[in-house]
């Protein structure tokens, strides 16, 4: 594809702009910002990747993954502002996920340890994990606000903080994992996953593309479960103090 043909595809951007204007959706500005950001960010990453692939230097891959983790952490931490140390907790859980994913993929020689494989797969694992973390934190915050009395009840009967928050924790973990599991059930029936479609368009063997997509799907199941479980168990304790009491500000939101 050339830049000229790419430019023509901007027609797809004009349609929502026209609609926004006509129906007064007031989304015009957002559409333009989103478009510009997508162009700049993706082109930049394209050139960066080209550079890294040319160099074939592991340091660059490492750096790239580190940046991904940093950006994902900064993005997700706003949702968990009332959890002490949310930044390092997010960073830690993302690192653990990256470590698990890479040790399976590279350790069992499923993919070669080259930047061309490591970076996109890491990106998918970390990006998905970030979304899972945001889903989890949103739900967990809502759950503890809605069920403060139950938590207090269990404490008043001599339960530990972990027992007191257990139901809210489990509910939130489940809720954040469900979309991943559900979407996996219908995959390929309704829409072809983006990565697979891209490979097929670029001329890859469809069966090969499917196998890679399956690898990604399985990987996403791990990222979904590990990120919410890890984050949940790292976080719940900060809602209570040393005297096993609720810290009221953490339960009523900001």
């Amino acid at each position: 594809m050339t830049f000229t043909t790419l430019a023509i595809t901007l027609a797809f951007v004009c349609i929502p702009l026209v609609l926004s204007k006509a129906l007064n959706l007031q989304l015009g500005k957002d559409v333009i910002i989103a478009t510009i950001r997508a162009i700049v960010q993706l082109l930049a990453i394209g050139y960066v990747l080209q550079l890294i692939f040319d160099q074939q230097n592991v340091v660059f891959s490492f750096l790239m993954v580190a940046i991904m983790i940093a950006v994902a952490t900064l993005n997700a931490r706003k949702k968990g502002a009332q959890i002490n140390g949310i930044t390092w907790k997010l960073a830690l859980s993302l690192c653990v996920i990256e470590a698990i994913v890479m040790s399976v993929l590279v350790g069992f020689h499923i993919v070669p340890a080259t930047a061309q494989y490591i970076i996109p797969l890491s990106g998918m694992a970390i990006g998905n994990s970030m979304v899972m973390s945001i889903l989890f934190l949103n739900r967990f915050t809502a759950e503890i606000e809605a069920h403060e009395q139950e938590v207090e009840l269990i404490l008043s009967l001599g339960g530990t903080p972990k027992q007191a928050i257990h139901r809210q924790l489990i509910t939130s973990i489940k809720a954040s994992m469900l979309p991943t599991i559900e979407s996996q059930k219908t995959i390929g029936l309704v829409q072809l996953p983006g990565m697979m479609s891209g490979q097929i368009i670029a001329g890859a063997d469809p069966v090969q593309a499917v196998m890679f997509q399956l690898l990604v799907q399985f990987m996403l199941l791990t990222t979904a479960s590990v990120s919410s479980v890890l984050l949940g168990f790292l976080s719940y304790r900060t809602l209570f103090n040393q005297k096993l009491q609720i810290i009221p500000e953490k339960f009523t939101g900001q």
Binding site: I154, Q245, P248
Partner: protein, 238 residues
């Protein structure tokens, strides 16, 4: 008189507002203290302090002559039982709620024990498999009392436990609590019903805006020379 719980210069400040203001007083062992006062006076806060759900910002609480904060909160909360104001329920059946205190300690309540617990608060045993959230307000209050009594407690903290009950049930619960007292349990009972306060109380605390206005024998409700006590009894203290 020996005190089960003693407050010494207790203050509680939350989010920059003082909700308990330098309170000193006692809860006599083996007696019923009725804790009265207008809404927002700080009554529930006092109970939470006794159960260590809250800690005072200033001052010292003694439980059996030992500083309350030196107790392990988990063991303390099992000895100092509390029935919370809104009778909150965990999701699940009536049995699940009764079993909760046991479950928290890795034990199980037998079905017979559960039925007995229901009967002592006047709840029909056939409710045992109902969802707790489907109970009426009064039934929930009864279940909450039964649940609090599952742990063997030395002190019972009761936060408006009969506010949603019919007169017959009120009498039933009062008798049950008096039985607990006769077994040596110390009781602190918050109530907005002054008749009830006089009927069952041996001792009283009257609170107003975070302060302890009066405490002592229950007869003080009638005989106190304190202007604010008299106002309260006339229903004029807000």
């Amino acid at each position: 008189m020996t005190a089960a719980i003693t407050f010494h210069n207790i203050s509680v400040t939350m989010q920059d507002t003082q909700i308990i203001n330098t309170i000193s007083g006692q809860f006599p062992k083996g007696q019923i203290t009725t804790l009265v006062g207008p809404s927002g006076a700080g009554k529930t806060t006092i109970l939470k302090l006794c159960n260590a759900l809250l800690s005072p910002t200033d001052g010292t609480i003694f439980y059996n002559d030992q500083e309350l904060k030196t107790y392990n909160p988990l063991t303390l909360r099992r000895c100092v039982g509390m029935a919370l104001q809104d009778a909150p329920m965990i999701k699940g059946s009536v049995y699940d709620n009764l079993n909760l205190p046991r479950q928290l300690q890795g034990e199980t309540l037998s079905k017979d024990e559960a039925i007995q617990a229901l009967q002592q608060v006047g709840l029909d045993a056939k409710n045992i498999h109902k969802k707790a959230h489907d109970l009426s307000g009064g039934q929930r209050q009864k279940l909450s009392i039964a649940r609090t009594l599952i742990n063997p407690t030395d002190v019972l903290l009761l936060d408006e436990i009969t506010s949603a009950l019919d007169p017959h049930s009120v009498t039933e619960i009062e008798q049950l609590i008096v039985t607990m007292k006769q077994r040596g349990v110390t009781i602190i009972w918050i109530t907005h019903n002054l008749e009830q306060a006089r009927r069952i109380g041996d001792y009283m605390w009257l609170m107003h805006r975070g302060q302890l206005i009066e405490s002592g024998s229950i007869h003080l409700l009638e005989t106190s020379q304190n202007e604010r006590v008299q106002q309260f009894m006339r229903g004029e203290l807000l």
